[in-house]
Amino acid sequence: MKITITVNGEKREVETTPSTRLLDLLRDDLHLTGTKEGCGKGECGACTVIMNGELVASCLVLSPQADGAEITTIEGLGTEEELDPIQEAYIEAGAVQCGFCIPGMVLASKKLLEENPQPDEGEIRRGLSGNICRCTGYQKIIDAVKLAAKKLAGTGKLAGAGKSRGKGGGR
């Protein structure tokens, strides 16, 4: 079967099967390997992507469900030459160790900050509670989100804000 999805702003037509997971479609067919598989059960958050404005575990989404969807993966944020403020904040706060959870964490942070540009610590914890990290003890990830909030407020650069404000807004 063929599906059409918009990934990181680019419309793609992909030949796939009904049982292919979005995760595999992204990694194997579109070669976007920044999205990681940690558990295959939606427990760890490593495969998190933003689909139609919502955070999803791409290991739990089958490709037909993604037909027509707009998807943002980690590759859709910044590049090493031009980092997204959230990515910058993760580097500056020292929030990256092994890095395997980081793509999911960064996307969860993006979603959180789009809905709530100035989250307090409790809101940050809730926003990241679907993503497991075994290295950092989370402290510096929380610091990174706080720093990212400051950076975004400073630049007024809240990419996608409003547009993707979903039902869960302002949790």
Binding site: K41, V96, C98, F100, G137, K140, I142
Partner: protein
């Protein structure tokens, strides 16, 4: 001493590719013609294999190879004792044993083929408790061995009977700990590529210890080491866990790759990972301690038994670390310790962050609080009366005289940062309501690096390109901890260049000498010295070249040169800091190249001598130690048994923090892993079967479980470490469980001697779970 690049919180050099998703981990790699490998694992923990029929699997479309034990040239491997099988041939010893491997053109075909392999088993009774394995008439897990004992480490100091005769108070207590899963977020992956660039086989993947993997694959294939090349990739966490399990996986993939003459990729699912990979050792520990009425320790007798599971793996060394640390950082004149490892048919156990220390520290630091209660003393005062100072003699007879024994300083800094004294007094008063608070502490000394386990040396290569940019190779591996950044800082400090000129290469066993394993919190200390050695060698070459070129003109000697800010200077005038530029680093490199000067150097560092007598447990097992103190503040809901850890204060003497931000990162991460160990994590096993094989059943701390964490970095530079640096990775996780158990005791009056401190243990005093650690 002032520094330009070390002792600074510089940004991690590998963070950029990681935040953008560009970093390639093993599972992200693809090779032309690549096949997918899958493993068929046993149905029963202990069984005889009567027959394996692979015919139908081989006929399945897309399947290129199916291999069993008979296709393995040498089926036994291991770092210490070679008794782990690549594939089970006649008998399975634990539930994760592989029976056959398949390579197919798609993952689906490989998985389907596994179902078509017909195996006839005869289920056998097994041994699932080390106490059973110890019995004289117990069945032997490995028939070719004389018994089930993997190892026995005795330690004898003084006269234990005389010691107890002098005691006013004697306490005897038993403590147990559980199986723990590393839970690195990246499941294991290996790709074996045949006949690449003249190697017989090249291994890529999530390899913690490239040389151990190289050795295992070469030994399994029965070929020379230079025929097997291992190249590390970005590693998604390891914590000691991606060693033997990767060796086995790499050997299987290599066999399939050579059989099919195509690259073979094997990726474990999380369930496969938890089912097959080795775990932290569960311990059962009997402690007997004698003290005077005034609170002076006089004697300690310890018997500790570790469950090794089906294979020896790292048990001989894990239990050895326990021996050295079992009495804690206390002066005890009379000590008798016996530490054992036993084979069972449980999942095998191996290295995990902390190695053999978290178990004995849980016991011994809980015991100190129990003793304090018995003596009516404050636990802090009891500790301060007995701790090591400079010139103290350890249980193994080592005089601590070659570095600063900073335990008292570390404890007092933690006490101050946590406001321990006031809180201890406050929580001792009667508390109303269901929610009760408590505060507790634990302290440790920890031997740095391998100690008497093995040769302790490491290599580095610095290679300067003709434009002054630099490639840095190390024989130790980045596992996520930040090694690349630390080593780059050291090279940059010595050569006076910026970090962005340094390109850190992944470990490649064909380029850099065997540097042992990236374990034992040894990288900064041993590998850092190797990098420094390489940098100093190449710096000496450069200085000599500059003297030859410009020495007469400017009137200086090589030794007068100053390397900093990407330039080379010479002192001028009388004032300090009055310097004159001779040449930029970049220009120098071009000139040196044109003059035919070699601008590369191998660095090597071998650790100072140590000693150990295996019969008596006496000697100097480590050449230096680090000291730590963690204080936990908890709130326990006495209605539900729920523990909330409110605050953890963690003070650690690291010698010198090469990168203070990284040190704090290690502390935060280690404290959280220790918290998981203390209150939530347990791999539940029942008769060798594992119940929780994914993160829905095996719970690790999330961001919501995170307490306030106060890191306190203490710096007493070590004479041996690079710039005085020692260790931080493992000490951070070994203290939490006892500190939390002690805090729970203060809050509830309930002393829990088994980990984890889960709801039912806190509420009713024992575990309700059928499996696991009863």
């Amino acid at each position: 001493m002032s520094f330009n690049k070390v002792n600074k919180s510089v940004k991690r050099i590998d963070a950029y590719e990681k935040v953008t998703g560009r970093a390639k981990y093993g599972a992200d790699l693809k090779f032309a013609g690549m096949l997918y490998g899958k493993v068929l694992r046993t149905k029963y923990p202990h069984a005889r294999i009567l027959k394996i029929d692979i015919k139908k699997a081989l006929e399945y479309p897309g399947v290129e190879a199916v291999l069993t034990a008979r296709d393995v040239p040498n089926n036994q491997f291991g770092v210490i004792i070679r008794n782990q099988q690549v594939l089970a041939g006649k008998e399975t010893f634990y539930i994760g044993d592989g029976v056959a491997v398949v390579a197919a053109r798609t993952e689906e075909a490989a998985e389907r083929a596994l179902e078509l392999i017909e195996v006839k088993y005869q289920e056998l009774p097994g041994i699932y408790d080390p106490e059973e394995a110890m019995k004289e008439d117990a069945d032997r897990v490995h028939k070719e061995l004389p018994g089930n004992q993997v190892i026995h480490h005795p330690l004898r100091k003084g006269d234990i009977e005389e010691g107890f005769a002098r005691a006013d108070v004697i306490l005897e207590r038993e403590y147990t700990t559980q199986f723990v899963e590393h839970s690195y977020l990246e499941p294991e992956v290996v790709i074996a590529v045949p006949h690449e660039q003249n190697s017989l086989v090249t291994i890529y993947g999530s390899v913690q210890n490239p040389y151990a993997t190289q050795n295992a694959v070469a030994s399994v294939l029965q070929v020379e080491l230079s025929r097997v090349r291992v190249i590390q990739n970005h590693l998604g966490g390891s914590f000691g866990g991606k060693d033997e399990v990767i060796s086995s996986m790499a050997a299987r993939a290599a066999l399939l790759a050579l059989k099919t003459n195509r690259p073979v990729k094997m990726v474990n699912s999380r369930d496969e990972s938890i089912l097959e990979s080795y775990k932290r050792h569960p311990y059962r520990m009997k402690y007997k301690v004698g003290a005077t009425r005034e609170g002076k320790l006089v004697a300690m007798e310890i018997k500790a038994v570790a469950d090794s599971g089906a294979y020896a793996c790292q048990t001989p060394f894990v239990t050895w670390r326990s021996v050295v640390q079992a009495t804690g950082p206390y002066e005890v004149p009379h000590v008798k310790t016996d530490t054992y490892g036993y084979y069972t048919n449980n999942i095998y156990t191996g290295a995990m962050r902390g190695y053999g220390s978290p178990q004995v520290i849980f016991a011994q630091e809980s015991l100190m609080d129990e003793l304090a209660t018995e003596l009516g003393m404050d636990p802090l005062e009891l500790r301060l009366q007995n701790i090591y100072h400079n010139n103290s003699i350890t249980a193994s007879g080592q005089r601590l005289d070659n570095h600063k024994v900073s335990l008292k300083e570390v404890i007092l800094k933690a006490v101050e940062a946590s406001n321990y004294r006031e809180k201890y007094a406050e929580y001792n008063k009667s508390q109303s309501g269901d929610k009760k608070r408590g505060i507790g502490m634990a302290i440790s000394f920890r031997g740095c690096s391998l100690g008497a386990e093995a040769v302790d040396a490491a290599a580095a290569i610095i290679h300067i390109q003709k434009d002054g940019s630099l490639d840095l190779y190390s024989g130790l591996a980045e596992n996520g901890q930040g090694l690349k950044t630390i080593f780059a800082q050291i090279a940059a400090e010595e050569l006076g260049i910026d970090l962005d000129r340094i390109n850190f290469m992944e470990v490649d066993t064909s380029i850099i000498p065997d540097s042992g394993s990236t374990v034992a919190s040894r990288s900064t200390l041993i590998g850092g010295n190797a990098v420094r050695n390489a940098a100093r060698k190449v710096k000496a070459i450069i200085a000599e070249f500059i003297e030859e070129e410009y020495g007469d003109e400017f009137g200086f000697k090589a030794k007068d040169l100053i390397f900093k800010d990407n330039r080379i200077y010479v002192a001028e005038g009388k004032d300090v800091g009055d310097i004159k530029e001779i040449i930029s680093f970049k220009e120098m490199a071009g000139k040196a190249y044109n003059a035919g000067v070699l601008l590369s150097a191998y660095g090597w560092y071998k650790a100072p001598e140590i000693s150990w007598d295996e019969e008596t447990g006496q000697g100097n097992p480590y050449f230096t130690y680090v000291y730590g103190c963690q204080i936990a503040e908890v709130e326990v809901d006495t209605g539900t048994g729920e523990i909330e850890v409110l605050k953890m204060t963690a003070a650690h003497d690291v010698g010198r923090a090469i990168n203070p931000a990284n040190v704090k990162g290690q502390i935060y991460g280690g404290v959280m892993m220790g918290l998981g160990y203390a209150i939530m994590e347990e791999l539940e096993t029942e008769e060798g079967y594992i119940r929780n094989t994914n993160f829905d059943g095996y719970l690790i701390p999330t961001v919501r479980d995170m307490p306030e964490i106060i890191p306190v970095i203490v710096e007493n530079p070590d004479p041996v470490g690079p710039y005085g640096a020692k260790s931080i990775g493992e000490p951070t996780l070994e203290l939490g469980s006892a500190a939390i158990a002690n805090a729970v005791f203060q809050a509830t009056g309930r002393r829990i001697r088994s980990l984890p401190l889960n709801l039912e243990r806190v509420l009713i005093g024992h575990s309700l779970s059928k499996g696991g650690n009863r």
